[in-house]
């Protein structure tokens, strides 16, 4: 398992750069990864999504919820979700939230 230093903290990552231990995640890490993903600033709307994913991941084996689970569960519209995390929200949200890629298809 590879490790890398993000926001001054050494964390374990997989070959795609996703954190493999959600417990190692911090808000500073999220800010740093968001920048790598092209999101300059995490607004309260971004945090609402990230926090919803973090809260539900425990019941999903450390995986991020699917996009539909996010829109219905966090009360964010599909349009808004794609605007907050443009060009691939499924992977981006999981990456920033320090979770595994979602397992469902919807």
């Amino acid at each position: 398992m590879a490790t890398r230093v993000i926001a001054g903290k050494t964390v374990q990552v997989n070959e795609e750069g996703f954190l493999t231990n959600p417990a190692e995640w911090t808000k500073e890490i999220a800010v740093e990864i968001a920048k790598e993903e092209g999101i300059a600033e995490l607004t309260p709307a971004h945090w609402k999504v990230i926090e919803y994913c973090r809260a539900t991941a425990a019941s999903l084996g450390g995986k991020s919820p699917t996009l539909r689970q996010i829109t219905t569960g966090a009360g964010v519209s599909t349009k808004e979700l794609f605007a907050l995390f443009p060009k691939g929200p499924a992977k981006k949200v999981a990456h920033i939230a320090g979770l595994g890629k979602p397992e469902g298809c919807v």
Partner: protein, 167 residues
């Protein structure tokens, strides 16, 4: 070209309930992964974007060799719904109801709602001009997400460099 986003285009030519879902599922997955999605609806596939039809798509039991009675919990092994029974009034409604139930069980939304999710996620929808003319439809018959009625040649132009999937 590393900067060029990957592009996928689907051609939906079927209007059966089970043939509406492949493009919806794969298109949604593509959007979630940052892939540009275009969908071209032709022939019976127009039912998927027809606002009077999209939530009334059906699945007929006749000549369907994959739908086994076992799916409905009956201990009937490899036996399908006999074609002779499939022609009875109400059988298409029954198999449609059953398939919708199975689809809902895996958390997939109905066709109209699913398609709207794709539109909201940035998918571009087009109707085939020849099919639209042939079936006497107009843009008013289609859901709002349909951008235009285009020719096959237009579709070829707009999908340059895309991976094309025919359904």
């Amino acid at each position: 070209m590393a900067d060029e986003p990957r592009k996928i285009a689907f051609i939906c030519s079927k209007g059966d309930l089970d043939m509406a879902y492949p493009a919806l599922v794969m298109g949604w997955a593509a959007l979630g992964n940052g892939i540009d999605v275009t969908i071209f609806f032709t022939f019976w596939g127009l039912d998927i974007i027809n606002k009077h039809r999209q939530d009334k798509l059906e699945l007929a039991p006749v000549a369907n060799t994959s739908m086994k009675m076992k799916m409905m919990g009956l201990p009937t092994g490899n036996l399908g719904i006999p074609n002779l029974l499939g022609i009875l009034p109400g059988m298409t409604a029954f198999t449609t109801w059953f398939m919708k139930k199975k689809i809902a069980e895996v958390g997939a939304p109905p066709v109209g709602e699913y398609l709207q999710m794709l539109v909201d996620g940035g998918a571009k929808l087009y109707a085939c001009k020849m099919s639209v003319d042939m079936m006497g439809l107009t843009k008013e018959d289609f859901v709002d997400g349909v951008l235009d009625i285009v020719t096959a040649s237009d579709f070829m132009d707009m999908t340059e460099g895309a991976q094309i999937i025919f359904i």
